[in-house]
């Protein structure tokens, strides 16, 4: 394995990074949003469409974020205001998002991202950091969205563990009733963080359609949204672990192409299965060891109704 493999793993892991961070922040508020895949697809298609229409990378990213956020608002209205079942609401969001993306993507098939926009997302070396042997080549010779992914991870960590708002957020997710009694505006916290989560999932989708692929194809996410939901468990709801999970799975995602180069005869179909099988194995290990389950927000997935205490 050469260094370029690890650098490519970082690239492939970046959409996961955004999606995992988004779902993690959502789940910290006690809401389990299974619509990640749907929100990613909405972000991917709107981001791509905006890129084709305007040619402006900022507008494309903004559109993707708005699309993801829009999906999250639907989910938040249903689960926070109307206390609908979170699992079914999230699933519906995924089904809706899939339909939305295939509807909006009609006629985009075969289109490619404009070349000057590719330049915007192109790799550049960060001074000093990029010169570190090995690590510099892997982590600091990347595109702008990879760097902002690092930055977001750190910001999310500081936000959740080092600020008053982050503390309140964790309180809402752990013990909603107590947080409510302490005067925290529970619904507002849930809304805001569900939407932040959706915005990040929209970005994750845009990364796929604008940078990773970068052309339009049906169902660009290919289950990455669901893998992200699983990796939140793997990361023990700790933002600092997100990078590890994301890049590990980024590596699994691309290992197939690499193995072919080394003339090892394993069926392509078996290699394609790896991310899904490893996700299952992780789910099982986590549940067998039980150690992780304690780190889930205690009120995750439970609708809160003040007068039902």
């Amino acid at each position: 394995m050469d260094i370029s493999f690890f650098a490519a793993a970082v690239v492939a892991g970046t959409p996961l990074l955004y999606a995992i961070l988004g779902e993690l922040i959502t789940e910290k508020s006690g809401q389990l949003n299974l619509g990640v895949e749907g929100m990613m697809l909405m972000g991917a298609v709107i981001g791509f469409k905006m890129a084709i229409i305007t040619g402006n990378p900022y507008l494309a990213l903004l559109g993707a974020m708005a699309a993801g956020g829009f999906g999250a608002i639907i989910y938040a209205v249903l689960t926070v205001t109307f206390r609908a079942n979170q699992v079914v609401s999230g699933l519906t969001l995924t089904i809706f998002g899939t339909g939305f993306a295939s509807f909006m993507g009609q006629g985009l098939m075969g289109e490619i991202v404009p070349p000057d926009m590719k330049l915007f997302f192109a790799d550049f070396k960060i001074p000093f950091l990029g010169d570190i042997p090995i690590l510099g080549q892997i982590f600091f010779n990347q595109g702008i969205l990879v760097y902002s992914g690092y930055l977001l991870t750190i910001i999310a960590g500081l936000y959740i563990y080092r600020t008053q708002i982050g503390l309140n957020l964790r309180a809402v997710g752990e013990n909603t009733a107590a947080a409510d009694a302490a005067g925290i505006h529970v619904s507002l916290y849930k809304y805001v963080h569900v939407i932040i989560g959706g915005v990040l999932c929209g970005l994750a989708g845009a990364y796929l359609s604008l940078v990773y692929i970068p052309s339009w194809q049906e169902n660009v996410t290919a289950g990455r949204g669901w893998i992200a939901v699983a990796l939140v468990i793997f990361c023990k709801w700790n933002p600092y672990r997100v990078m590890m999970g994301a890049f590990l799975f980024g590596g699994l995602d691309i290992i197939g192409f690499r193995i072919q180069k080394f003339d090892i005869h394993i069926s392509q179909y078996i290699i394609d299965l790896l991310p899904y099988i490893v996700t299952i194995v992780i789910l099982i290990l986590v549940s067998v060891r039980k150690s992780h389950s304690g780190s889930a927000p205690a009120s995750l997935g439970v609708s809160y109704f003040r007068e039902e205490r």
């Binding site: 609908a84 089904i95 339909g99 299952i280 549940s287």
Partner: protein, 356 residues
Amino acid sequence: MLRMSARTDCSRNEAVIIRTSAILLALSAVAVFIMLLGHNPLSVYLSMIEGAFGSGYRITETIRKAIPLIVASLGISLAFRLKFWNIGAEGQIMMGAFGATFFALNFQNLPSVILLPLMGLASIICGGIWGAIPAYFRAKFRTNETIFTLMMNYIALKWLTYLQYGPWKDPGALGFPKIPGFTENAVLPAFFGLHIGWIIAVLLIVIMHIFVNHTKRGYEINVVGESENTGRYAGMNVKFIIIYTIFLSGGLCGLAGMIEASGVNKTLSVEITRGVGYTAIITSWLSSLRAPVIAIVCILFAAMIQGGTFIQMAFQIPQSAAQILQGMILFFVLGSEFFIKYKISIINDNKAEANQ
């Protein structure tokens, strides 16, 4: 000031009215969307209805599409009763179709009366096992079944892809990657102009209704779904109940796959499910998991799909519009359930203060 409180007095009629108005609201929301696209929503809806029920042939087509949906929804409703979020129907359908196809391709000399039941049994077992694997881990270690069952979908899809492009590729298709067609004895016979899958679906609805409401096993499922602890204290073998219920759930989805492969496609392909596994999640939830209602909702949804293909031809509206419509309907119904469970009353603040 608005005040919410739990309500227990919501009658069945009221609930039906609330749900129906939710569906109407969803239709009007989509109507606005259709208008933005520059079409007349009324004529789009009318032609959808015409496309689904406008002629004898179209009605048959609609019911043909409803059959796998009904069978899979029955399966999913069983899992949802347990609060086991089985979203692996898609994979279970594929594996069921795989099991059936295995017999269809390898035992072509058997007479229909033996071959078809064998295919049915194989599909139930394959789909059932595909569901029982996550169920085992859920029952034993509380492994998250939502993601597990979903990952199983992708594994099933890759498995079918492998078969279609590899060992099961039709040598007679001149290199085109397709699985050979079934011989005549492996195809479900027709009855009143439609393959007998519709009789199977009707029978299953009746059996499911009786099973869930009038048998001890069905009662156990309802109890464990409400509270696993209650089931445990009552001496039920909760783990076993989870595993065999999900085996049945997956088995029904597998059977839906066999019906599609044998009755409609007369072969197996990676597109065998046509998203039925996901649509069935919506339909079983909309039906409040009740078997007779599932039949009605599934026919309506099949009509939407069938009508969707029609409006694609008539208005050049992409077929995925039907998928958006389905999602919207479920969004609105999910939201409306709040008004079934809670009531909102307006309290006069001044009055409340005066009383203090």
